[in-house]
């Protein structure tokens, strides 16, 4: 597809999150707090994708994500590509895989974990990337996709 046929118009400066699984698009947008973003945010879903079948895409004008947000995207949409745009040109394109270790970002699902009682930063070892299993370094309990929530 050429630039002229873009379904979602191009942004001048900012970030494009491409290859989001279609069922995760709105969750990604909500988790990244894009609902209160003051600059232009373009969302499109159920676009044809060779890689995913159907995909979502988010374009954020003048927004560049910090590592904490990139980790969140990776956990919700490990297939995503993060594209940095400057003056309508792609200056960086990265595939964001799930890291082996996550500090902060994720809340331990165990209410009896010390991280939910004292002011302690959470730490997880990612023990299964495909099924998404994060083992808490403190209580050892495993936070999974269905119990995942962010700090």
């Amino acid at each position: 597809m050429s630039k002229k046929e873009l379904v979602v118009s191009a942004i001048k400066n900012g970030t494009v999150i491409d290859h989001i699984p279609a069922d995760m698009l709105f969750q990604v947008a909500k988790t990244l707090n894009l609902t209160s973003c003051k600059t232009q945010v373009l969302l499109a879903n159920n676009l044809d994708s060779e890689k995913l079948g159907k995909k979502g895409i988010i374009k954020c004008q003048d927004k560049f994500f910090e590592q904490d947000d990139i980790n969140k995207i990776a956990l919700m949409a490990p297939t995503a590509t993060l594209i940095t745009i400057k003056d309508y040109e792609i200056v960086e394109k990265i595939s964001i895989g799930i890291p082996n270790y996550i500090e902060g970002t994720v809340k331990c699902f165990n209410p009896k974990c010390i991280t939910n009682v004292e002011n302690v930063m959470t730490k997880f070892n990612v023990i299964d990337k495909s099924e998404l299993k994060l083992q808490c370094c403190y209580c050892q309990k495993i936070t999974k996709k269905d119990t995942l929530s962010f700090l």
Partner: protein
């Protein structure tokens, strides 16, 4: 082997060689329990929740080595009651003691303590998470009664789902080519995450719902309590509760070397008529706890 200044928070913090080293030291303390190797040391026992056996066992161990013991046996006697954070309490106590032994009701508290303490920390139980010194004394008791930890048949009975001592023991015994016999109600089976340790080592396990199905095959019968509160339906509890009570009459055909272990406290899961049988080992097991804790304190303080 040098374990000086090493924390012991989870049984997986130590490897097989380190377990065996501690057991060897414990054997030495059993032969010669009063050794004042720690007479210039201060051991802090911080019990944020009450625990009779574990605290007294640690304090007995420290006293037999000539160490001074400071601490508290209930969080209401500590600055926690004033709202101090755990991290601050631990940092402060680090200034007063050479080693910290702590029990806390919240899971992961001991790991956090070890991160902020400037002296080594031994976890004496953090909620339902870990209780590694219980596991060490279980290993010692198994080795002592069987002559070795290798190639044994071990039955674990009762609440295998929530019992932290069972989970740690399975993990540790996976180092010794163990065959596991898992006896529990269907609703309290060993979690798959714990079974993974067995599978990773290509070891064998069998699952049963009755003690009698396995009792004659095993070297160790490790009993735990099936608690009523673990059942959603009280009728389910009533149906199974008697299946997990060990009685003298069940010991007729067991192997001659078989011993019954229990982390204590026992309620009714071992009938008192078993106490006088040669297979009953649970009170000696508690006694072994003192030697193992002496060994751990000595090793971690670099005294042995």
């Amino acid at each position: 082997m040098n374990l000086k200044n090493r924390n012991l928070i989870s049984i997986s913090d130590y490897n097989k060689e380190e377990y065996l080293y501690i057991l060897k030291l414990a054997e030495d303390f059993e032969k010669n329990p009063v050794q004042d190797v720690a007479k210039e040391k201060v051991v802090a026992t911080l019990f944020f929740e009450p625990s009779t056996r574990t605290r007294l066992s640690f304090e007995s161990a420290a006293n037999r080595m000539g160490a001074r013991v400071i601490g508290f046996s209930d969080a209401s006697n500590s600055s926690t009651a004033k709202g101090e954070s755990l991290a601050d309490t631990i940092r402060t106590v680090s200034c007063y003691a050479d080693i910290i032994v702590m029990r806390h009701p919240i899971e992961g508290a001991a790991r956090l303590a070890s991160e902020v303490a400037t002296v080594p920390v031994i976890n004496a139980g953090d909620g339902a998470n870990q209780h590694p010194t219980q596991c060490m004394l279980d290993l010692y008791s198994i080795q002592k009664t069987q002559g070795s930890l290798d190639n044994l048949n071990i039955a674990l009975v009762g609440d295998l789902k929530y019992g932290r001592t069972v989970h740690s023991l399975v993990e540790a015994m996976c180092n010794f080519n163990t065959t596991f016999h898992l006896i529990s109600p269907d609703s309290l089976k060993l979690p798959s995450a714990v079974k993974m340790h067995i599978k990773k080592r290509n070891l064998t396990y069998y699952q049963y719902t009755e003690i009698q199905e396995a009792i004659d095959k095993v070297d160790i019968l490790y009993m735990t309590r099936v608690q009523r509160e673990r059942f959603l339906d009280i009728q389910d509890y009533e149906k199974v509760k008697n299946s997990y009570i060990l009685d003298k009459s069940m010991l007729k055909k067991v192997k001659p070397n078989m011993k019954v272990l229990h982390p204590l406290p026992r309620v009714n899961e071992i009938a008192t008529n078993v106490d006088s049988m040669p297979q009953a080992y649970y009170f000696q097991q508690a006694q072994n706890g003192v030697y193992v804790r002496q060994a751990l304190i000595a090793a971690i303080l670099g005294l042995k």
